[in-house]
């Protein structure tokens, strides 16, 4: 079929060219295809702009660019346009796809262990698939003609084979079993029993999961995620600090300075507190009774702080407690020694409200001072906070940002406390970080 002269820019590649690249027959085949008479059975002429679509629904056609690239070195035979027999050949797009796939396979060579695993899996699959299901087999047809019925054994049945169960004739072919080590008889089976099916059942999924982990995309994704996580954590800490400051400057309604703080926003907290810790009312612990906002609250007090920034105070209090305990211990052991230290540098908190590594070392906080031995063990446990901190960092951050906004018209992203709601509406781009880009 002939095409209008506008055709050359959008012409599907001829099938004959599809595979003839680096072949010695290449030149011949191109020659052959160029002079090929146009078969009548080919598809009817198509509009140029429809060429990007597949000739049939099942077959994607070559993209315009591909065909140009393909024909650059070809000869000027664009007056003739043959469309591939859609069922027989591969279009340029498909070839591109295939090559990409092949390249990606080549690009990620499997390790020896993986190859061996793949080999084993294919072998096991082959060995456990009966070929009697292949009804196209001429061998099976011949056997059927001899009177074989699928599932039966060959040969004559012995007189005693008549009763079922005693027929010892083979139906399944013997499977080859490869012994990879020189373990004696009974040794491997004993191991197998010990590990039982727990290993074998999870084997495949575990291997698959491992493979996935090894792919470069997932590695990159994981790294990005981790960085994001760290960023969110830092932001959360910053937001909590702001929150603490704002509460001190401008306590929200419902907060009463002193020893009876009640969370204004979180009724749930209040209920929990009274339900769970009836004995740990602030008055019951005169020893730790101190000013709420002085920066040295008791655990019981901390438990009544709004969840969203409670973690900050909690961790600080915990660090303090540990330091104090350690100090008490040290002092009781060797008072004289500590007396020699002229000007002890006070430990400082780091970004997470904990002591820095150096300070930890200096205070010999092995990272995990055993608080369980202290008599305070019940007090510093805070299941509510634990629950809260199980939530995603981003989630918690969003909540505190919302809280700052609603309580003090403070936008965490603008880093500015607006004077009025209108101002906030007008000048702040929005409640989300993305809005401030």
């Amino acid at each position: 079929m002939t095409m209008p002269s506008t055709a050359p820019t959008a012409r599907p590649v001829k099938p004959s060219l599809a595979f003839a690249e680096d072949d010695d027959e290449d030149a011949f085949s191109k020659l052959a295809s160029s002079s090929r008479p146009k078969p009548a059975s080919r598809l009817p002429p198509v509009e140029p702009n429809s060429l990007v679509r597949p000739p049939t629904a099942s077959k994607p056609a070559a993209s315009t660019q591909d065909t140009i690239a393909e024909d650059d070195d070809g000869e000027d035979d664009y007056m003739s346009m043959t469309v591939a027999d859609p069922t027989a050949t591969e279009t340029a797009l498909q070839r591109l796809k295939r090559r990409k796939l092949e390249a990606s396979i080549r690009g990620h060579p499997l390790s020896k262990a993986e190859l061996a695993e793949q080999e084993r899996q294919k072998r096991d699959a082959g060995l456990s698939t009966s070929i009697l299901n292949n009804s196209a087999s001429k061998g099976l047809k011949m056997m059927k003609a001899m009177g074989y019925s699928t599932g039966a054994a060959l040969g004559k049945s012995m007189p005693e084979d008549a009763n079922p169960g005693t027929d010892s004739r083979t139906i399944e072919p013997i499977k080859p079993v490869v012994r990879e080590s020189r373990t004696g008889i009974g040794h491997t089976s004993e191991l197998k029993r010990k590990f039982s099916d727990s290993t074998t059942a999870r084997d495949d999924t575990a291997a698959a999961a491992k493979r996935q982990e090894l792919s470069p995309e997932s590695y990159r994704n994981r790294l990005t995620q981790e960085a994001q996580q760290r960023r969110h954590e830092a932001q959360l800490f910053a937001a909590q600090s702001i929150c603490e400051k704002l509460v001190a400057e401008d306590p929200p309604t419902g907060y009463e300075a002193g020893s009876k703080p009640v969370s204004s926003t979180d009724d749930q907290t209040e209920k929990n507190d009274s339900a769970q810790n009836p004995n740990t009312a602030p008055d019951a612990n005169p020893h730790y009774k101190s000013d709420f906002f002085s920066g040295n609250p008791t655990f019981t007090q901390i438990k009544q702080i709004n969840l969203i920034y409670r973690g900050l105070l909690y961790r600080r209090a915990l660090s303090d407690l540990k330091a104090r305990l350690r100090k008490e211990q040290n002092e009781s052991l060797s008072v004289s020694k500590s007396a020699h230290i002229p000007k002890p540098v006070l430990p400082k908190y780091n970004a997470k409200g904990e002591f820095s590594e150096d300070d930890k070392l200096a205070l010999s906080l092995g990272g995990d001072i055993n608080l369980e031995e202290s008599e305070l063990d019940e007090e510093w446990e805070d299941s509510e906070l634990e629950e809260f901190e199980k939530r995603e960092v981003k989630d918690r951050l969003d909540e505190i940002v919302r809280y700052l906004r609603s309580q003090w018209r403070y936008c965490f992203w603008c880093k500015f406390r607006y004077g009025s709601d209108e101002e906030l509406e007008r000048d702040c781009p929005g409640p989300a970080e993305e809005d401030h880009d």
């Binding site: 099938p15 004959s16 599809a18 003839a20 072949d23 027959e25 011949f28 085949s29 052959a32 027989a88 295939r98 092949e102 080549r106 060579p109 190859l115 061996a116 793949q118 080999e119 072998r123 082959g126 060995l127 456990s128 698939t129 009966s130 070929i131 009697l132 087999s137 061998g139 099976l140 047809k141 011949m142 056997m143 003609a145 001899m146 009177g147 074989y148 054994a153 060959l154 040969g155 004559k156 012995m158 007189p159 010892s168 004739r169 083979t170 139906i171 072919p173 013997i174 499977k175 080859p176 079993v177 490869v178 020189r182 373990t183 004696g184 008889i185 009974g186 040794h187 089976s189 004993e190």
Partner: protein, 779 residues
């Protein structure tokens, strides 16, 4: 005879108690010359050249058989005839050697039951005979039959089958000596590629496979009046088919006698199988008790982590603490055995130095060992190193050859790790491999029995009693369940058996194995779609080869390379020509590299053969050992080649090859290879690290022994084997165009699973079509 029996023992009542050790304990060590399995090594023998008296000559009228009626003779009559002085079969004067052997023969356990045997033999058509190795059944029963059948009167021979070629040869030699006749005349043997019989032959030892081949041309086996199937317990493929066949022949030929001989294992199974209605499906059985002593069996309390280590430890413990007596250790293969021998020698020397134990002599025994070395296992144990010192000990480290087929005297201790190498074929992925597998309970008992041949012995099993009961199967799987049946199916078709599905197999093979065989024969065009033998199939069945090899050979004249393909086929039919000693791997590989051809291993082998043929006979052997080649394999390939050539010429195939200068010389050879092996092709995978078999989609690697690199897209392989990895061995690169041309039915692209192979084939098809069109236009 494996034992030197120096005393008269006609009493048959307590043969088990008859120890052949003389009172003072000096064990009568068997002379290797007396071992029937080694008789072929003494071929030139010490046969005194007695003056031959032609039959019907001066002493005519003194026919020792006068007055005897066929199949009604008695032991007395037979013995009288045996006592001479005239050889009843040749008419010659009997030699002194004959009478010397006769004394020993009369001492054999079977002799005591000659009467019983004759009675059962004469009264029944089929008889099952059970006797242990060393009872004399292989050499004596056929002679008992001879004296009752009187074959010179009927002109019909007696056949005795053996599973192994070597056994057939050496037993025939021994029996020829016993009967005082020349091997190849009255007594001969017929094995694949070697027929040593003549028109005078009345007793013929042969491999079971040869009898099967004879049946293809003589379905009623009219040449024979009696057929003895020896070592039936080994259940080789050919024996199994023969049994099924003989059951049918026995119905057609009521005069044919059949004796099935087995070594105690599973005798009831044979009785049942050969039973008929008149004997209530229980064929008569005659058992000769072996001369055995009790064997104490020890198990390990715990499963072993490493059976080789455990075996060596056990052997050394026995050597250090047990009283005098030789040790037999069963291991699985050449490499393992050689390694074990080396370590035992070292440790043994050390023990002698440091703990003053007796000297330890270690011998290896496996099938591929040269005969001279095999023979050394019969050397007596070494004497004490100094007067009054501890006696020496012999250790034989063997494959399961020593289990039934070979008897070593003096063995008192058996160490059995419970493994042997077994062939397994699986039709699903068409892989045939020799794999180290646990033995059966029957094998374990047989192994233990080897300890009680001289005196009460001990057997150390390197597994727990629970493992013995639970992990070991009762009987070793017969070969028919573990083999590719393509050539068997072709043989059965040639034998005129059309209904293969209901053929009376003793153990029917898996249906899938049969299906695969039929399918493969159909692709090879040996069977048509209805399962009838084609002309090609008929021709192929005349070669004692696998159908693929036979078809390749027949097709080679089309590809104008019959001479080369003949050589390659012969080389593929003999044991490996390249030798690679563990200590000299590098040198061996270098030597092999001289012959390497870029097209692959088949042509590399052909190169070796061509150079071998160009060498002078006198230096050929030396040249082989210098180049790490097996002289035995090459000479035997030469012999096989001649035999095959005779068949090809008989079939009037064109035997002209293109000249070496022709540029298609190698392509022709490779195409001819494709004609037979187009079903054994692998294609390189996209990742480029290995290959995948085209239809069964199995990942395979080129065997490290190949001369081919990784660059070939398509390769043809001779074997697909499974070790710890999937390997293809003996490979040659081919072109996909050839495959599509030669086997269009098998390479029908539509029949392939979606995947790399299919895509590659599609591309080849298109390429070929383009080329064709171009040529048509040009032409």
């Amino acid at each position: 005879m494996t034992e030197n029996r120096d005393r008269e023992s006609t009493e048959s009542d307590r043969p088990a108690k008859k120890a052949k050790v003389s009172a003072n304990g000096s064990a009568s060590t068997a002379a290797p010359e007396d071992n029937p399995y080694l008789a072929h090594m003494y071929a030139a023998g010490s046969l005194p050249s007695t003056a031959k008296i032609p039959r019907g000559g001066g002493q005519a009228g003194q026919d020792p058989f006068a007055g005897l009626t066929r199949r009604q003779t008695t032991t007395g009559q037979a013995q009288q005839a045996e006592d001479g002085p005239i050889n009843p079969f040749t008419g010659n004067q009997l030699s002194q050697q004959y009478f010397d052997i006769l004394v020993k023969r009369r001492n054999l356990p079977v002799h005591a039951q000659r009467n019983e045997f004759l009675k059962l033999y004469q009264d029944n058509q089929i008889l099952v005979f059970v006797g242990e190795t060393g009872s004399g059944k292989t050499t004596q029963i056929p002679q008992f039959v001879l004296y009752d059948e009187l074959p010179h009167l009927t002109g019909q021979k007696i056949a005795c089958t053996q599973p192994r070629r070597v056994a057939a040869m050496s037993v025939a030699k021994r029996v020829a000596d016993e009967m005082d006749v020349v091997l190849g005349e009255e007594v001969g043997y017929n094995i694949r590629f070697e027929n040593n019989t003549c028109s005078k032959t009345i007793l013929q030892y042969m491999t079971d496979g040869m009898l099967l081949r004879e049946a293809m041309n003589d379905p009623d086996l009219n040449r024979y009046s009696c057929i003895i199937l020896d070592e039936a317990h080994e259940r080789t493929l050919a024996t199994d088919i023969l049994m099924g066949l003989l059951k049918e022949v026995a119905v057609r030929r009521r005069d044919l006698k059949i004796v099935v001989m087995s070594a105690t294992l599973d005798a009831q199974k044979f009785q049942r199988y050969f039973g008929a209605e008149e004997n209530k499906y229980n064929a008569p059985l005659l058992a000769v008790p072996g001369r055995t002593h009790p064997v104490e069996i020890f198990y390990t309390p715990e499963p072993e982590r490493d059976y080789v280590e455990a075996a060596l430890r056990t052997v050394l413990q026995i050597h250090g603490s047990e009283p005098e007596g030789d040790i037999l250790l069963f291991l699985t293969g050449e490499e393992e055995i050689e390694e074990a021998c080396k370590r035992l020698r070292m440790e043994g020397d050390e023990m002698q130095r440091e703990y003053d134990t007796g000297p330890l002599k270690v011998y290896a025994l496996y099938g591929t060992l040269p005969p001279q070395q095999q023979q050394r296992i019969f050397d007596p144990a070494p004497p004490a190193s100094r007067p009054g010192g501890k006696p020496g000990r012999k250790v034989v480290v063997s494959t399961n050859i020593a289990e039934t087929s070979l008897t070593i005297d003096g063995i008192v201790y058996v160490v059995d790790p419970g493994f042997s190498k077994q062939k397994v074929y699986n039709p699903r992925i068409r892989v045939e491999s020799l794999l180290v597998s646990p033995i059966s309970k029957a094998s374990a008992q047989q192994r233990a029995g080897r300890a009680g041949r001289t005196r009460p012995g001990k057997c150390f099993r390197l597994y727990t009693e629970a493992a013995f009961k639970k992990e070991l199967i009762d009987q070793t799987y017969p070969e028919i369940l573990r083999s590719n049946l393509a050539s068997t199916v072709l043989e059965l078709k040639k034998l005129g058996i059309d209904d293969l599905v209901h053929f009376d197999f003793m153990d029917p093979p898996a249906p899938e194995t049969m299906m695969r065989a039929l399918e493969e024969l159909n692709y090879l065009a040996c069977l048509d779609d209805d399962g009838n033998l084609t002309q090609l199939g008929r021709m192929a069945s005349e070669y004692p080869l696998d159908p693929a090899l036979a078809v390749m050979l027949i097709s080679s004249s089309e590809f104008r390379c019959p001479s080369e393909i003949l050589s390659i086929t012969a080389l593929l039919s003999v044991p490996q020509v390249f030798i690679r000693p563990t200590t000299k791997r590098k040198e061996a590989d270098q030597a092999k590299a001289q012959f390497a051809h870029t097209d692959g291993d088949h042509i590399t082998m052909l190169n070796v053969y061509h150079v071998f043929k160009s060498k002078d006979q006198s230096i050929a052997q030396r040249w082989c050992s210098d180049n790490y080649l097996s002289y035995r394999s090459l000479t035997s390939a030469d012999n096989v080649r001649n035999q095959l050539k005779v068949i090809m010429e008989k079939q009037e195939l064109d035997m002209t090859s293109t000249s070496y200068e022709d540029r298609n010389y190698y392509n022709n050879i490779r195409q001819a290879l494709c004609a037979g092996f187009f079903m054994q092709i692998a294609k390189k995978t996209a990742s480029g690290k290995g290959y995948v078999t085209v239809k069964d989609n199995q990942d395979v690697l080129l065997h490290p022994s190949t001369v081919l690199g990784q660059e070939n897209e398509w390769v043809l392989y001779n074997e697909f084997v499974l070790t710890t990895k999937n390997y293809i061995r003996t490979v040659t690169s081919v072109k996909p165009e050839w495959l599509l041309d030669i086997a269009p039915v098998y390479y029908d692209v539509d029949s392939f699973q979606k995947g790399e192979v299919k895509t590659a084939l599609q591309r080849t098809v298109e390429k070929m079509q383009r080329k064709q069109k171009l040529e048509r236009r040009r032409g």
